[in-house]
Symmetry: D2
């Protein structure tokens, strides 16, 4: 039985805590940690586990075998390093860190200590995205030639995530999911990035130097091509769709509306949008947590490695450079 | 804090147990009960609550304020009576009982003791179905004239539910969900039922006297009309769609496929089916459990009452009579 | 080269005239006929063919090998008889006649003269409906068990068709399309009909004794079951959907919205409805006309025979009787 | 009554000929022209109009007021010049010419003679695309920020169109439709183009210097952004989808499958693809031809002008340069 602690009890942290408390075989939620005392006590009491406000103390708790880091991005690297030093396995929410330098530090520390590190790109565990991966591997669409992803969040990032120095901005905070999908579904590294974008929608993002609508053109080492569009606004809900065109077919993932209710009136037939990512990817989070526990139990690399986490940061950095310089940027 | 115990730890019982353990404000899972010792111990240990194999003992546990009955239908009435006698509130999985006689006994006992009784027609708490109800009440489709429901399960009912004497057969076990939706969405009682059907698919159902494909024609007291089709088989997944046509518009609930993955090849564009009801209605179960706790806390009738449970049984009984006699049957 | 004349230049008549003028190999539009002089002259001049206001004269024109009868239903039988007597082949718009008696007269006359008679159930030539037929014949859904059709016109029937004595009312004028599809897709005759309905929407229909919303329960000789719902109103457009459930799969034909434009705003994602049947079935009309010409050229029975036309009337008559008597009605 | 002649009787030419023969008020098809004698005689006889094999002769026919040019692209400019010199109005199939130089020559000649020139970007007349335009103009999606178009033809271009010197290659022959939509829907000129692409699928295209899969990144003068993806192959049918995201909503045009038939079996729910553009855009062609005739009758600029035709060529040329030079290219 692997003892798991969740650190950072925002909505994602709570979700992981609930999942480990009830659904993951071979694991047991043993502690939760947050700097806000009221929050950690409420969650701890509801789930019947120890509440910590101090990360250092938590790391010294012998019942804790693994930590799930759900704090703001700019804190990830340091917290991974400390966990690794205490011999705790780490499931780190995406992205791995704000910069490749920070990521490198975290990866070295993990390598040195020998703990497992999994990065939280949960789409890999979603039935639709993993079904697409499987279909590609089975050859159902032939040779994959084009990756397209359209990602629109219903609204701007909250709090710290609106500051690109803390979150990495739209290319890292939001689109690194799509960069990870691009690498994974196309089975190829990205070799060249061209990006355009603007801050059209939110004054706060513009002031802090972030963008809210962007387009990214990718070239893969395999010769395949990619297009990614991201927006921090979608008027009616979460709009995430990905497709992979191959020489013999095309995969379509995602839908811009929820099919479950349509109201037909003189105005036409109106569907609701998709509620944000937590409803859409709930099952994926469960499978992600199960995979993490299995990788520990079976002593093997998790499906989403630290290197995957680092690659996503590299692409995001190249996208930022391309926007600034108005030209395509090659990755080394 | 209301102490809740879940009785009967099949898939639905486990689901309720997990939800009460993690998600419902104002309530706390305090015990689980099942006749199979291994099951109750496993679930009790995972969720950190007391395991009971004896229902009587559970009812005497003072930490238990309310029970969630998830046992086979033919046991419901008796278990409700016993819970009511011990002053425990009851959330009873649907249907309320196998016959109106049994239901009447349970309702009387509940009335006498003054406990709350909620029946588990969880579709009422689904965002799509409750959105449809809201749209009707707001007048968006004018006067509701026609209710249509098409319900196909991916496979035959398991174990005891294949015996119509224990489950009430297809009209009760399966279509009472649709009868409940019909009454609720149309805001009118059913006054006449004509049903046809056959046992085309499963030898076991035929032998036990159940049907596997049925059609039901309804007339409502309001003058509106209804059609319900049910099948115990759907080759590619759970196929549940309901529509309400009104004088000014039509509501459509449900979809025969999951929109999230399509594979386009020479054969066409192929979607997956919808996984069975637990994925489709997970959020509805959470809201159902929240409503139950709120009705206790606020000391008021729950949204799905014992009478609602009884009405669904009456319609199912009329449908059975109609099939046997080959003619429309009026409800008194 | 078969010389074709179109009789009755309402919207359907004009459509057939245009199709024969441009698209049908082996045929040539040679004349058009309508009692309204202005209409027949305009269409004749546009298409460069002879205009007739007198049906008798037209029938004596030696360039005319075949007539396409697009007049009101109550005139069909008599016009077929006259055409047959003059040795002209007939493509008669649906339904064949208002009553089975009239239909019988027409069929006898056709049989006697040996001309071809095709009835205009154009859905049989639609790519989606004929694709469904093909899929059934290939065994893709196993044994067909249930036929369901939901048919909603955007508005009430115009002019003469609002009078059930001239049109046969909703069961014949509108739903005979669905009765024809039921027989054709299920490869079985209907043996028993139960129908309910009301005149909820249009005062004029109520006054003339027609209904505007109806439900029909069918039993087939094969043992299969059917449900048909019809409404003379659909707030946002033509809503026609049919499905056939078999032991191994289900076919879905039609859509309640046009997929080609969606507007996503705060209110949700809104699609337009489907424009009425002529846009939806344009290609089917072309193929229907081609089939008619081929059946003449190849001297064989057309795909939709006079008997098919008669069967649809029988089912409609049974539905009317069922509504009046409140009980299921058997067809002999 | 405007006398119309159609020149070039491939599938598009025949379509225009049929439409002018039957559907366009105020116009009359008077002649058809093609270098292949058998073809022109067959079509002429079917439609009852004069057949020409010589374009010069046709232009001298006094019954001809306007010509519809449906010949290969590389012949357009010269044929427009000759028609203009004879004072004939011109509806020219897209694209206007292969190069901007040629286009310029044609435009000057048209200007000098004062005839009308309309370019055949028929999507502007499609109900879905024109509905999108209308929704934007009504402000339903706020300020338009992003244009995305995904265009996949079912197969490679036939005959002469496979030679980029004759057709302008994929960017002009295929994607100029999307460039036209981009300019029209965004109400802004394109200012910068970055394009990537390859010849992955068809040996013939590679040998002749064309590409078969391309991506294009656009920047508009308004500050808005665009992405266009084109492929000369789509395994299951014509896959054309366009979307415009604005500050308050998103428009979606097109669908990757035909909604009218789905076959649900163990393998999932399979839809057919969309048949190629002629079925999808039939109604648009009718309205395009009507608009052409109206612009002549009302003596005004047509909705798609020669300048629109030229702009599309400029963007295509910039895309070709961008691919060759591996950098973004600005339009003057």
């Amino acid at each position: 039985m692997i003892g798991v602690a969740v650190v950072g009890l925002g909505r994602i942290g709570r979700l992981h805590a609930e999942i480990f408390a009830t659904k993951v075989e071979g694991a047991k939620l043993v502690a939760v940690c947050d700097v806000v005392k009221g929050v950690v006590e409420e969650v701890g009491s509801k789930l019947g586990v120890k509440p910590y406000t101090d990360y250092g103390e938590l790391l010294r708790d012998r019942a804790v075998d693994a930590v799930v880091i759900c704090t703001p991005t700019f804190l990830h690297a340091e917290m991974i390093v400390r966990a690794a030093e205490e011999g705790k396995h780490v499931l780190c929410e995406k992205p791995l860190a704000v910069t490749t330098e920070e990521a490198e530090r975290a990866l070295k520390s993990v390598e040195k200590s020998g703990v497992k590190l999994q990065v939280g790109y949960m789409r890999r565990f979603d039935q639709a995205y993993s079904g697409a991966k499987k279909a590609i591997e089975e050859g159902r669409i032939g040779r994959p030639l084009v990756f397209i992803s359209i990602a629109r969040d219903p609204g701007p990032p909250p709090g710290w995530a609106a500051d690109p120095r803390k979150s990495g901005g739209i290319f890292l905070d939001m689109l690194s999911h799509d960069f990870d999908m691009a690498r994974w579904l196309m089975s190829s590294e990205v070799r060249r990035v061209y990006a355009t974008g603007g801050a059209y929608l939110y004054e706060e993002l513009r002031e802090k130097g972030d963008l809210d609508v962007v387009n990214v053109c990718l070239e893969f080492e395999s010769g395949a091509l990619g297009l990614i569009h991201g927006s921090r606004k979608s008027a009616f809900g979460y709009d995430l769709r990905t497709e992979v065109m191959g020489s013999e077919g095309t995969l379509y993932v995602g839908s811009h509306h929820d099919p479950n209710l349509a109201v037909g009136t003189r105005a036409g037939v109106t569907y609701s949008g998709v509620s944000w990512f937590m409803g859409r990817f709930y099952d994926a989070y469960v499978r992600e947590d199960e995979e993490f526990v299995k990788s520990i139990a079976e002593d093997r690399e998790p499906l989403v490695t630290g290197l995957d986490g680092r690659r996503a940061i590299e692409i995001a950095e190249a996208a930022w450079r391309s926007v600034r310089e108005g030209r395509p940027v090659s990755l080394v």
